[in-house]
């Protein structure tokens, strides 16, 4: 397999700061096309900052972020979104005053490349039948799981080729978590690459092919889900509380 040609996103030694605080230390990671990659770590280790750096919310002071062959470092979030990266941020940021359908329409835009097979409202409803039932409901009246589903669906309407999911399972009931895991897998099977950020290892091991573990703003582990499951040292030192 030629990993260089298949590499969709590559972070090359990025260093990100919030003001004078150094948050990310030489973070490097790769996501191949169609891959579902997990990013694990305790609270405050820099997982969300990594996603924010990719998305352009905060610009790394050094290093580069290569997406589909182009350096996207320094671009505005909307420019990055238009290149085909979608993000589902923490706190399920849906628009509360408009309906589920309007929320989906807000996210609609054609695919950045000519990949065909675009996401439409009908296709979304096929994958997430629950949203079809809630079609006319205002976003603000949905439950936590429903909001999360809508947030992911809205990102898909932008036809991203890479989807960043920031702790989508946080605060949800186990039954809903299982449902979401299944949904994330199904989305990945359609060809969308995914970076799934989570605090808990269980859901990551359930769905991801490859996992990065972060600690104190740096990558401390890079391997397959099976390797992580067997590596008790990493689990004890960096993941268990």
């Amino acid at each position: 397999m030629n990993s260089e040609t298949e590499c969709q996103l590559e972070l090359k030694s990025i260093n990100t700061y919030y003001g004078k605080s150094h948050i990310l230390y030489d973070v490097s990671m790769k996501v191949r096309k169609g891959e579902l990659v997990g990013l694990l770590g305790r609270n405050g280790v820099g997982k969300s900052t990594t996603l924010n750096s990719i998305m352009g919310v905060v610009t790394p002071q050094s290093g580069s972020i290569i997406f589909e062959g182009n350096n996207i470092c320094g671009l505005q979030p909307y420019q990055i979104a238009r290149r085909g990266i979608g993000i589902v941020p923490e706190e399920r940021r849906i628009f509360p005053t408009i309906t589920v359908r309007e929320n989906l329409l807000m996210g609609q835009k054609p695919a950045a490349g000519s990949q065909g097979n675009e996401w439409t409202i009908d296709k979304i409803y096929e994958y997430m039948p629950l949203l079809k039932k809630l079609d006319g409901n205002k976003g603000g009246y949905l439950s936590g799981g429903e909001k999360q589903m809508l947030s992911i669906a809205r990102s898909l309407m932008g036809n991203p080729s890479l989807l960043l999911l920031d702790e989508p399972m946080e605060g949800l009931a186990p039954v809903i978590v299982n449902e979401l895991c299944g949904m994330i897998k199904r989305i990945n099977e359609t060809g969308v690459s995914i970076i799934l950020v989570e605090g808990s290892m269980r859901s990551i091991l359930q769905v991801c092919q490859r996992v990065y573990v972060m600690a104190k703003g740096a990558i401390v582990f890079d391997g397959s889900a099976d390797e992580l499951e067997q590596n008790k040292d990493i689990q004890c030192t960096y993941l268990e509380v």
Binding site: M55, V57, Q76, P77, Y78, A81, R82, G86, I87, P89, R93, F95, P96, T97, I98, E102, L105, M106, G107, K109, R154, S155, G158
Partner: protein, 328 residues
């Protein structure tokens, strides 16, 4: 249009008929006052769409009202045979351009910094109007020498006649309101609302939030400019009063009195403020004190303005109807 039913259409037709019949029911002074309310309502609308819909609290909306008024007056002064409607359009476009240029700087900021920068730019334009006496007349102002409107099939409309002016202003204001209502149903306006709710969220969806806000600012300035141009025509005079800080705060008061989130609230606010000012100032020189107290009461107890009382009044009416129906 979405959400329209037979009741709305009947109500709209009755309102139009009442407005058409108004010149036969009131005197010339009252008619001029109503025309003034119509002009101010567009001014307030420019604030409402910025604050209520885009979440941008501008303290300098008089800038665009003033630019509209001055450019319209100058067009009549310097261009011989200036067509009437073209002068209004010129005023509105100039205000739109001014808003676009100012908006490009202001919308980069948020919160108090945004508001303060709008004040700074407004004061800058005020200073031009005040100091550039050779063009603007300074605090002596400019007389607006309007040309009559020539009709395409012969004849003309006398622009010095209060009734003709009333109809013309009414027509333009109604068209502007319909345009604004249409605009609020467009996907672009959904973007504007999303920027108000959360800038970052909207940019993650792929929207250029900066340009969206600049465009909303420009549209608001355009409507303010139409209001200013109509005001200049109605008053036949323009002075620095139209562009000073006080005018911006009067606009803000009108908006909050009517309901700063509502398009209809802008008409209600302009009407209540103008009528009250006229009525109270007849009896006491301390009319501003009374208006100030009214403003405090509204901010404390009716933050959504008088427009929020309409559904309550409707509910009371239907209760009363039900009660009287049962008695019968």
């Amino acid at each position: 249009m979405m959400g329209l039913n037979i009741k709305h259409i009947v109500g709209f037709v009755i309102l139009c008929l009442a407005l058409i019949a108004l010149p036969w029911m009131v005197g010339e002074f009252e008619l001029r006052l109503i025309s003034q309310i119509a002009c101010f309502s567009l001014f307030v609308l420019s604030f409402t769409i910025l604050y209520g819909h885009a979440g941008l609290l501008s303290f300098g909306q008089a800038a665009y009202f003033g630019v509209g008024a001055y450019v319209c007056a100058l067009a009549f002064k310097y261009v011989a045979g200036m067509p009437f409607l073209a002068a209004i359009l010129l005023g509105a476009i100039a205000a739109g351009i001014a808003a676009w240029l100012i908006g490009m700087f202001c919308v980069k900021l948020t919160g108090a910094y945004f508001s303060l920068l709008t004040v700074a730019f407004s004061q800058f334009l005020f200073a031009i109007a005040f100091k550039w006496r050779s063009v603007t007349g300074g605090d002596d102002g400019l007389v607006v020498s309007k040309n009559p409107i020539t009709l395409p099939f012969g004849g003309s409309i006398d622009t010095m006649n209060t009734t003709s002016m009333y109809y013309l202003i009414l027509l333009i204001v109604v068209l502007c309101y319909l345009a604004c209502l249409w605009l609020t149903k467009t996907p672009f306006w959904n973007m504007v609302r999303c920027c108000k709710e959360n800038d970052e969220r909207a940019s993650f969806v792929g929207y250029n939030t900066y340009m969206t806000k600049v465009l909303a600012f420009t549209i608001a300035g355009f409507f303010g400019g139409v209001g200013g141009a109509l005001f200049a025509i109605n008053e036949s005079f323009v002075s620095t009063d139209v562009i000073d800080m006080n005018r911006s705060f009067v606009c803000l008061m009108m908006a909050f009195i009517g309901g700063a989130n509502s398009i209809i609230g802008s008409v209600i606010g302009a009407a209540i403020y103008t009528v009250l000012t006229d009525m109270i100032s007849k009896y006491t020189p301390y009319w501003e004190l009374i208006l100030g107290c009214l403003f405090i009461i509204i901010i404390l107890f009716f933050r959504d303005g008088f427009v929020s009382l309409l559904p309550k009044a409707r509910a009371l009416m239907s209760k009363w109807k039900t009660a009287t129906g049962k008695e019968n």
